[in-house]
């Protein structure tokens, strides 16, 4: 499969129709594996890396899940193509920086992607829409079992699967969910939630994982423990944590509707106004405002069919997706102008938020409004 056909259709997870899709954007499970007797990619010489790649790539491409897959060496991809893969969460930012000696294989549905010679020899992940951690784990476990018949993994009788970074040793598994929490942010409760989640051994990160900022009220929650706990146990614990957070977010939404309907409506209205009339828009601003439109759909201030447009814009306004259509490289200002243009265009048929759905109490004394 060619990269152009991969890019022409969005991934399954971006369709946003999985369970709990209003709050949970996607679920991911990844496994880290290494070959026995080969140095880890970060420390290996180029010839070692090429040797490992030669051993692994044909086996990955031979997996039954990888029929009709998209497969490429990293050095054959342009900067822009790599960035598009990052924005789709099919490769990591770290992998995008790699060249000769690394590769990526993605299945046709874009639910399974396998990075070769990232930080570990193998980084394989399944990504699904909504809250589907158990399904994602089942599939990646199956792929791993099929691969281990053909590839000799580095496995330690006490420490389990050995990984380049000791934070991954044991199961080599990282399960995570991307969740949208605008009401917890608006209600100033998000820090409490983050602290509570951290306390029980889970990490909270921004949109693109480690070291990234939380934009658009999107957060990634993932396990940190990989040693001394069974995979199924970790997955079901994370599942419980996410279900709890969903509950908190839903409560926070109800609370805002009852106690601060004006603030809520104002945020959604401003988001709508700016997005549909701006002529320059950074990707950060776009994400933050789109977040409120998404909340507006969830609260039925916009018709349900608007959901698709918003989800599409979340991806389309990312820097690389934006540049894909244009011939030459755009500078940041040109990007911001193009982004605003695309958003204005997509929102042109969008109805105004239906404020009657939310009852806003009138200020008791109109004269005091100036203060």
């Amino acid at each position: 499969m060619k990269i152009s056909s991969l890019f022409s259709s969005g991934g399954e997870w971006a369709r946003n129709d999985g369970p709990h899709h209003q709050i949970v954007i996607s679920s991911r499970v990844r496994l880290a594996r290494n070959l026995r007797g080969h140095p880890f990619p970060g420390w290996a010489k180029k010839s070692d890396r090429l040797q490992a790649l030669e051993l692994i790539k044909p086996e990955v491409e031979g997996l039954s899940e990888m029929q009709d897959a998209y497969s490429a060496f990293l050095q054959d991809l342009s900067q822009l193509e790599k960035q598009v893969l990052v924005e789709r969460h099919l490769i990591s930012r770290e992998h995008a920086a790699k060249g000769v000696g690394s590769a990526v294989v993605v299945n046709k549905k874009q639910t399974l992607s396998i990075m070769i010679n990232e930080e570990d020899h193998l980084r394989m992940q399944v990504i699904r829409s909504g809250l589907q951690l158990r399904n994602a784990f089942k599939l990646i476990d199956k792929v791993d079992s099929a691969l281990e018949e053909r590839v000799d993994y580095a496995f330690h009788p006490v420490l389990g699967y050995l990984t380049a970074c000791p934070t991954n040793v044991g199961t080599g598994m990282r399960a995570s969910a991307m969740i949208h929490l605008p009401a917890l942010v608006l209600g100033d409760q998000i820090n409490q939630v983050i602290q509570a989640v951290n306390k029980i051994g889970f990490a909270v990160r921004g949109l693109y994982g480690e070291g990234t900022e939380a934009m658009g009220n999107l957060f990634q929650i993932s396990n940190q423990i990989t040693l001394g706990e069974k995979e199924e146990e970790t997955v079901s614990q994370l599942n419980k944590v996410i279900e709890k957070i969903i509950e908190h977010e839903q409560n926070a939404r109800q609370m805002l509707l009852q106690k601060k309907p004006g603030t809520l409506l104002d945020q959604i209205g401003r988001g709508y106004g700016i997005l549909s009339h701006a002529y320059s828009m950074s990707s950060k601003e776009a994400l933050n405002l789109l977040s409120f439109l998404k909340l507006g759909v969830d609260l039925e201030l916009f018709p349900a069919e608007c959901q698709g447009t918003i989800d599409e814009l979340f991806i389309l306004t990312q820097p690389a997706h934006l540049q894909r259509g244009s011939q030459q490289k755009l500078n940041p200002e040109e990007r911001d102008a193009l982004r605003a243009e695309i958003i204005r265009d997509k929102l042109s048929g969008f109805p105004k938020p239906e404020s009657s759905k939310v009852s806003v109490p009138r200020p008791p004394n109109e004269e005091n409004n100036d203060e």
């Binding site: 970060g42 580095a154 970074c165 000791p166 044991g170 001394g228």
Partner: protein
């Protein structure tokens, strides 16, 4: 905002790092950020960044000046990258890693999935041990017929390995 390095171009990359509990902010333009390798997070003291401050010192205590016999990796390399060199490193630096893993995870031994192939060989090892015990017993009891049978079984199993 102007780039902190060249003081010329518009800054587009904003880096925030927490060092010793103090926040440090650097603003860079696209060209300077590439030059400084800011887009590549491996360039930083990742051992400390990922594993908490003092992680690199922890492993240092365990194996001062030692190098991994398989890949030549040293503790200084771990300090720099936060990653190990190869699977043998886990045994080479076992002492220092032990306390690190304990602090990071729930236990110090793996309880999850085991490759099926390994599971089979573990089972076979257990069976060989059992047959050896039975064989010793049979010889001690001068039960030579059984002993011969067990010896054949043992040969067959060991031949497979």
């Amino acid at each position: 905002m102007v780039c902190d390095v060249c003081k010329n171009n518009q800054a587009t990359v904003f880096l925030t790092q927490i060092v010793d509990g103090k926040m440090q902010k650097v603003n860079l333009c696209e060209a300077c950020s590439k030059e400084k390798g800011v887009t590549d997070p491996t360039g930083f003291a990742l051992a400390d960044l990922l594993l908490g401050l003092g992680a690199a010192q922890e492993i240092e205590k365990g194996a001062s000046g030692q190098r991994c016999p398989a890949c030549g990796f040293s503790q200084a390399d771990f300090k720099k990258t936060g990653r190990l060199g190869c699977s043998v490193c886990y045994d080479t630096f076992a002492e220092g890693l032990g306390s690190l893993l304990k602090a990071m995870h729930k236990g110090t031994s793996h309880v999850g999935k085991v490759p099926a192939r390994l599971l089979k060989s573990l089972e076979r090892d257990a069976r060989i041990k059992q047959i050896r015990r039975d064989l010793d017993k049979a010889v001690a009891e001068e039960n030579y017929e059984t002993a011969a049978l067990l010896r054949d079984q043992l040969r067959e199993l060991e031949h497979l390995t």
